[in-house]
Symmetry: D2
Subunit: 279 residues, 4 copies
């Protein structure tokens, strides 16, 4: 794809940057947003954890909730986006564009948290809590398990904004307590960002995962390599669509860094970039 123009060329460049940053022993901070696990991107992230591509993972709570749902034996199904949602609701099917999920997955989640809540309550960080889940489900194809086994720092800055967060809420309203506090995780990612001198970022989507990594760079030292797969746009002004070079002004990105913005659905771009990187 190196001889092609437009976004095909960006995919080529992204793979080249990934090769170079890993050859350069950079620590890769990977931001993971969008409904990527329901869409089938779980295995690729597990592979990227296991082969050392990803060093730090920041995710939406939703992606890990869906990872847990699959680890508990449930599935996401290819469905249809042009469908009557009232009809789906009657059939207890939750729709994520063209992917379907049975709503009774929440019963399995509840059961899992009922059974294991005591193991979570003393966890001081969301990371420790999530690692514990990964340890408990112990599935080779789970992102949570892969992070636990490889001791990959895993941050979810909005855990209360997820199915997992709601499972905890379910116990809190019964008067139970949890100790985990997002500020402890914030301390940890900033400690990592301070210690690591060679850093790279890779964003699948924007949202909180991107911004959380960006601010960690801003308050420590700038990243030298950057890949961003997003369909959002710079001129709408939000962080999700901001070009990586904008981060130079903030001190989030190095002015000598190498960056690429790929504008493409990540379900297409991520496998292409990773396959090209591995070859």
């Amino acid at each position: 794809m190196g001889s092609l123009g437009f976004n095909a060329n960006k995919i080529y460049k992204a793979a080249e940057i990934l090769k170079e940053c890993k050859k350069d022993k950079c620590k890769l901070f990977f931001g993971f947003a969008g409904a990527m696990v329901p869409a089938g991107m779980k295995q690729i992230v597990v592979d990227m954890i296991n082969d050392g591509t990803i060093d730090v993972l920041v995710s939406t709570g939703a992606n890990l909730t869906h990872d847990l749902i699959e680890a508990l034996g449930n599935h996401h199904y290819m469905g249809n986006a042009n469908i009557n949602d009232s009809e789906l609701h009657k059939q207890n099917i939750d729709r994520i564009y063209d992917v379907f999920m049975k709503s009774d997955v929440y019963q399995d989640l509840e059961e899992f948290f009922n059974k294991n809540f005591d193991k979570f309550k003393d966890k001081k960080t969301v990371k420790e809590f999530l690692w514990e889940i990964g340890k408990l489900v112990n599935k080779e194809d789970s992102i949570l398990t892969a992070c636990y086994k490889k001791k990959i720092p895993l941050f979810v800055p909005a855990i209360t904004d997820s199915g997992i967060g709601l499972m905890i809420w379910n116990h809190l309203v019964q008067g139970k307590k949890v100790e985990m506090n997002e500020f402890e995780d914030l301390k940890e990612i900033l400690d990592i960002a301070f210690v690591e001198k060679k850093k790279a970022i890779f964003y699948v989507g924007g949202g909180v995962p991107k911004n959380y990594i960006q601010q960690a760079m801003q308050f420590s030292s700038p990243a030298s390599y950057g890949i961003q797969i997003t369909t959002d746009r710079a001129d709408f002004g939000g962080s999700s669509g901001a070009e990586l070079k904008e981060g130079i002004s903030w001190g989030k990105m190095s002015e000598k860094g190498k960056f690429v913005n790929v504008n493409c659905d990540a379900t297409i771009a991520l496998p292409l970039i990773y396959a090209s990187y591995k070859n």
Copy 2:
């Protein structure tokens, strides 16, 4: 605009839905994402709080950080998107697309938190903490102050992902403690969502604010009216671009509800919808 097609018509519909939902005494949950305060959307949100349009506000931490920055006497400036970011960095200017901000705003933030940290440490929720900031800065044109004065529940599910969060971190690394915990806020928004029987949602952008409100509907009862201003798209599968009717399948939206998705930069669409609603 009611006689026009395409997104002009959607703006008209959004204003009509807003009129109808407020006439119907619905409680409006307003999700506020994207760099809207830097872009100049602060006053319109203050107005919407003060005139009773917004009943519950869920925001990114960034929007409130920028609100606080302005409340402390700093400004956002019209800049230029086609510019050398290295040059800006040397001049200590942070760029948000075509908006500029001096990076020394962080000194004022630090000073504010140094001076007032003791007032924050016992707050049990992020909401109470943010209200306290709003009380302290006490500026008529501040979203934080408006929420405090009108006792509008204000939720920021990823407070650690913001400049305000980093100010707290700055004190935590010095060994201080804070009590606020996002799970307490989660309990509160769900309590509100359970109590209110007539609910409407209005999303500026997607991200955590949208998803956090959506899950509150899912775990309480569905919303009857919905407006969404977003430039993201359903077929990329993420929550930010999902059409509101998709929420019917999840029980987040009522199957008899009235919804509209406006695809337009919110700096254009929000003022148009609000002006049309008020007239």
Copy 3:
């Protein structure tokens, strides 16, 4: 809107550029693509012709076909985009996103061309042919009539790609002939582009109208002012999404020119820009 960021600011800039270019006595070449007449943008273009804003008009054939359809007494209706298209087909309704049109408008078109074909056959250019239609229908609110009356050069470089073109085809298959030839129109727009020394361009959408004006600038002299309303994007590489400044490399745009790209549905942006220009 001058104090706002992002695309709200671009709308402000577009109006300022329009003011400046008309004050500077530039000739404005207006490219008109997208289903703008069905969406209700006809009157604004008629106004822009009548008040001297538009000096040269390049349009898709479809916009003028729909102008003619309305001039013949037919209408476009606000419909619904979420609808069964098979059902619409049975009811003889043609859908243009959320706008409906009865398919029997084609009978009126046929009748019009049957009645008037003799007046068209000797026309040497598509422009003369279209002016003749404008003269015949003679409706104050018709773009075709406005161009005829104001002697605005009107180019449709793909007239065969339109309902009007198909009406001509209908007579050609009966053995009749027409003399009009697109190459004669090409000569004319290039003559105009050569003679005019101060030029501005204004594109609603991209497609053939934009590219046709761009190449006229390239082969004569560059334009000094430029406004573009498009939702297409530069990185996909096509002409429709290309930033205006790219035209500097080609000699289509002056390197000292003033340009703005507004990313917004034109049904929203065009009325805002024009209203701001007139005030």
Copy 4:
């Protein structure tokens, strides 16, 4: 990709539809818009012509102009989108996003047309004219040559909107004449559309090529299969972004047809779909 969601799944579906329509002996009408030849998509289209995938080709004039430019021995180069366009202009480099072309390609074009003009002047259709060019350049990797050799009907409904068109203009202003007339081409594509009973459509981009094929279906009989690669969107209302199912209401698409809209840069999607189809 069949087990993935979102646009990855659409790529899978597109390949499946292509397999099925060719197995079903459908005639494939291929619309080719966007700067696809500069981006490196020429060979794939040549392959699709030579292996019988494409039965009728409708293109922008620009794609064939760039095909001719390459056939005459010139090249497109990988450049850079973040660059000073004034500087490029001084260096006689024309930019197409991140692709560069020397502006002296126009001298070779002129020379070619000077040398061969007499062979073109009697051609009655644009198709015959373009076939003649393909015959003259006689390059195995040229789209023009491939169409000529395989006798693939090739339509360019806006030939005057292209570099090739401007080369003809160059001779017309010297008093020469050409006989080709777009209405003759219109008759031909409609004849084909009438005769063929099993039809499929495949659009790379929108614009005139899509609309021209769509109207041919409307005025003959609907297509049974459809693939569309576009980054434009339905709610902006234009033909380029319209979902294929909208065509059912117009009688352009069969209500029992199989359609897919792929939202992705065609430089990525087209090779993936074609590779999957061939395997």
